[in-house]
């Protein structure tokens, strides 16, 4: 039973990634795209954690932790870029 649930969960998360990608492409302004990228990071962390629990490969959890860290740092960096403007 858990196999089917895991597959449904993975497909749902993939669908969420796809919908966030639509906003990433459409997004009229740069902050819209930053929000979509932030959501991307969280969704990918969720995907990796589920895959680690399902396959039993514990080492991938460290990758999830690193992706969460990089996602936060990149969001803050992009926001600083938006606020200060392009340094010419």
């Amino acid at each position: 039973m858990l196999d089917i649930v895991t597959q449904v969960t993975l497909v749902t998360l993939g669908l969420a990634l796809l919908i966030a990608f639509i906003r990433l492409v459409k997004g009229p302004t740069l902050p819209d795209r930053i929000v979509a990228m932030d959501l991307f990071g969280v969704l990918v962390v969720g995907l990796i954690v589920i895959l680690a629990a399902w396959s039993g490969v514990r080492a991938t959890l460290d990758a999830a932790l690193v992706i969460a860290l990089i996602g936060f740092l990149s969001t803050v960096a992009y926001a600083t870029y938006v606020e200060r403007g392009d340094p010419q």
């Binding site: 302004t29 902050p31 969280v42």
Partner: protein, 119 residues
């Protein structure tokens, strides 16, 4: 028993993640999109992490899962605040149905007070 709880929690978490993505697609401006994404994705990822911790069950992975959860729980509000602040000061247009912009109201009041003092 553990499998059943894991299945329920994982399904709930993935639905919350999907709702966050739908909110980001459907909401009308940056600020509403940001709040949909931060709240729903934190809750969804929390559910997924609880399920994974139950499923793996050993101490080393439990510590990692808890640290991922604590990190995301601490950083998501900060990231949301930074995005909202940056996009407000970059003058990203608000939704046309916005009823209250407290910051704009306060700055207008402040400039009026300064003008009356000058006179």
């Amino acid at each position: 028993m553990i499998d059943v709880v894991t299945a329920v929690v994982w399904l709930a978490g993935s639905v919350f993640a999907l709702l966050a993505a739908v909110g980001v697609l459907r909401m009308p401006d940056v600020f509403t999109r940001m709040q949909a994404s931060t709240k729903a994705s934190t809750l969804g990822l929390g559910c997924l992490l609880i399920g994974a911790a139950l499923q793996m069950g050993d101490f080393a992975s439990f510590i990692r899962v808890v640290s991922i959860g604590a990190f995301v729980l601490l950083t998501t509000p900060v990231a949301g605040h930074v995005i909202a602040r940056a996009s407000y000061f970059a003058e990203v247009p608000l939704w046309t149905g916005t009823v209250l912009d407290e910051r704009q109201r306060d700055t207008q009041r402040e400039s009026q007070n300064n003008n009356s003092i000058d006179k």
